[in-house]
Subunit: 458 residues, 2 copies
């Protein structure tokens, strides 16, 4: 059985501390149905969990369906004039908040209250309750969507909701639009009232095209707002690969700065062909390409190429046409193994038996003398991840085993301890296509492309 993120056994000192010190945070979502509240909730949860914060989504709709299983929740249920239903919905929202507060008190760090929360009365009740908790801060996060194309896509996705199970799609869409109309009758967006109460909030329009932030305080809120400010839903591909085989790979040594082997250079040549087939560079494109500079200082284009500062990734980028702009960044270097750089695992076991043992027991926090642990790597990759969210061009990243594990864990929402055990073979390209719920992943080893079922975050 895989360890889960909530096993108390694996949250040793560092992570406990990160979750216990400082205030907890509640994020109350606000918005009409199909405006991307759940999309934002899942994205935030994935980002925060990856940083080591225990984060959980509390969905009010799910609770409503359980609490009132005998009733069909069609559009009439959401009519503001339906007093019984309105009362039930308010009650369920507050019950969900109670459950959420208990969870925070028993070790959670960030809780997301995923509901429409679209009236002032509702929000005042939520504020009233959460303000009684001395160590819990809170903010509202409203998602507004006016772009008809995004809206239509969102609504079509709603057909998968349990409320529409066994319903003909056209009837379901008609019912859903009627439900939304009912919400709109009573909808009160965030604004003056919240500012008068000096409550923290963020409004996001059309998946990040515009945003309004009010009274954002503290590290967690600030990270959430920055992260959301960089999101977009344009199609693009992120290619991830380790460097070609290095001399140390062959000798079973870790770290260091070795060159590629002949085998590794063959992979480098194959990688350049692979990229050039998928992203041929026409002279005109190369010119246009400089449009989106990245934080590595590098240029953009159809395909950006990022490597670490280490010889084995730089050599792996060697065969690319010079029109591909290569950006090298230290952020993408392999985990640093301190005094164990250049040693084999057998050497380490002999020379540092104690450190070897504690590191094997938990690589998230264990480290070789003077080296980094996985949480250090996550911390230094945070700007890279935000930059990858922001970027709308395709990018090929040539990096290392541990960095690959860490980036794959971010994109798949994988458990952190599982991440440290992930097998990431050499000479394999992972193709990631961010999708509304999760990431579609394929990987290519040699000439074979294997597709994995896209993991769902729902």
């Amino acid at each position: 059985m895989a360890l889960t993120r909530h096993d108390s056994s694996f949250y040793t000192d560092y992570l406990e501390r990160r979750n216990e010190i400082g205030p907890k945070l509640v994020i109350f979502m606000v918005g009409l149905p199909a405006r991307g509240k759940s999309y934002i909730s899942h994205k935030l949860r994935r980002f925060l969990s990856w940083m080591g914060f225990r984060t959980k989504i509390f969905n009010v709709g799910n609770r409503r369906r359980v609490a009132d299983a005998a009733t069909t929740h069609d559009a009439t249920f959401f009519d503001p004039n339906n007093a019984r239903a309105r009362e039930l919905r308010e009650q369920v929202a507050l019950d969900t908040l109670e459950e959420l507060i208990s969870w925070l008190k028993s070790g959670g760090k960030v809780a997301i209250h995923d509901a429409t929360n679209s009236t002032r009365v509702r929000r005042e009740a939520l504020i009233h309750r959460v303000s009684q908790e001395p160590n819990i801060s809170f903010m509202f996060m409203e998602s507004i969507c006016t772009d008809p194309i995004i809206l239509e896509t969102n609504i079509r996705m709603k057909l998968n909701s349990p409320d529409y199970r066994n319903m003909d799609p056209e009837t379901a869409i008609a019912d859903f639009k009627a439900r939304t109309n009912n919400y709109e009758k009573a909808y009160e967006p965030l604004g003056d009232v919240e500012e008068k109460l000096d409550v923290s909030y963020v409004k996001v329009f059309n998946v990040g095209k515009k945003s309004i932030a009010y009274n954002v305080r503290g590290y967690l809120m600030s990270q959430c707002v920055f992260f959301l400010g960089n999101m977009h839903i344009a199609d693009r591909v992120i290619y991830l690969t380790r460097h070609g085989e290095s001399e140390y790979n062959r000798e079973g040594k870790i770290g260091g700065d070795p060159p590629l082997t002949d085998q590794g250079r063959k992979f480098a040549a194959a990688l350049a062909r692979f990229a050039q087939e998928r992203h041929p560079i026409a002279p005109a494109c190369a010119e246009k390409s400089k449009a989106d500079a990245t934080f590595g200082g590098g240029g953009g284009g159809q395909l950006q190429l990022w490597t670490s500062k280490l010889r084995r990734t730089v050599e792996t980028a060697h065969f690319f046409d010079e029109q591909y702009e290569v950006t090298t960044m230290r952020f993408l270097n392999e985990i640093y193994s301190g005094l164990c750089e250049g040693m084999t695992y057998d050497d380490i076991k002999k020379v540092y038996p104690e450190e070897y043992r504690t590191r094997q027991a938990n690589k998230l926090i264990g480290r070789y003398p003077g080296g980094e642990n996985y949480m250090d790597v996550i911390e230094r990759l945070r700007p890279v991840v935000v930059e990858l969210e922001r970027l709308s061009t395709d990018v090929l990243i040539i990096t290392h085993n541990v960095v690959m594990r860490t980036l794959l864990a971010y994109f798949t929402g994988m458990d952190l301890l599982e991440m440290t055990l992930l097998d990431v073979p050499l000479h394999t390209v992972y193709c990631l296509k961010p999708k509304p719920y999760g990431v579609e992943i394929a990987y290519q080893r040699g000439v074979v492309v294997i597709c994995i079922t896209p993991p769902s975050e729902h």
Copy 2:
């Protein structure tokens, strides 16, 4: 003569690349007089220059005074009905834009057009002109200030403006308020018009209390918006110090992970006394203190304590009462010297004469084999600097020589090449108080406090 940031000689490959690749950026400020436009302009310039981007402010008011030196520019000059003056002001704004564009084309990266730019007609003229440049992107940045206390402070600072030289203060303030009234008559805030044109903009209310971002694209814009989102003007102190003397300091060796000497431990004890005198921890405060957790995962309080992950800074924090929450972070580690860690300068000269020579010639980009250069250190300190901007509690940072130089350069706006030559002695505490224009610095060596004149950014 000190080298200046614009000497072409010192912008070698790395920095040239950073300034040449990707689009240039123009930031057009918008806002009534005394709303903090210049404050924001200077802060942004300091941040971007520190990151290695050539950034310059083009102040329209200064140009106006030169262009029309014969006329007194009292409030009547700013009356929208004063046709001659209005025409002159529009012309000067566009002339300034021409100058700015020429500068960008001759090697600049980010140019800030510092003016009220408060009417649509003016902004449309600016957009029309800048849109003709294929490789220049632009955004508007509006500062709105409604807080009467901030406003009054801002207005009092305006007495230093050349327009009010030789004027009695009360007359000057009355004139200034009349000028502002004249601007208000014609003032059109950013909003629907800009959104319809799909122009990027940010509106900042009351120094970051609230912000609106529209269509923020690209790395540079995104960094500017994130940076401004974290600013505040609350009073606080940032203490910076190196660790106490280490065994390597005594032996003339660099890097490594040595312990403190007896002398170093004496400094550690003195540092704890110094902090406890200035920031006594009462039990109640210690409890309250957890209110503002930082990204190191650590807690807050009256005084936060940050160290690097290296033994010599951790030992320097040893004598602090355990109620001070200590956060250790790898971001604050000393510059990494690769294969030269633990060597003396004489050793390095002998073993790596070529690397020694190139590094001495330019430490911004020169590095020892496998080590970091100063630009790498700046890159990894960027999240620390944003966090320091955000934080409103006092903080004491115990770190290392190069990190000290880098942080001091950020806060003083010092030239980057000068930064690499800065003398930062051991056993000295620098006390930084961020002020509206620049930072007030004092430093304490032993028991003597020496105050340095606050550097002005004006």
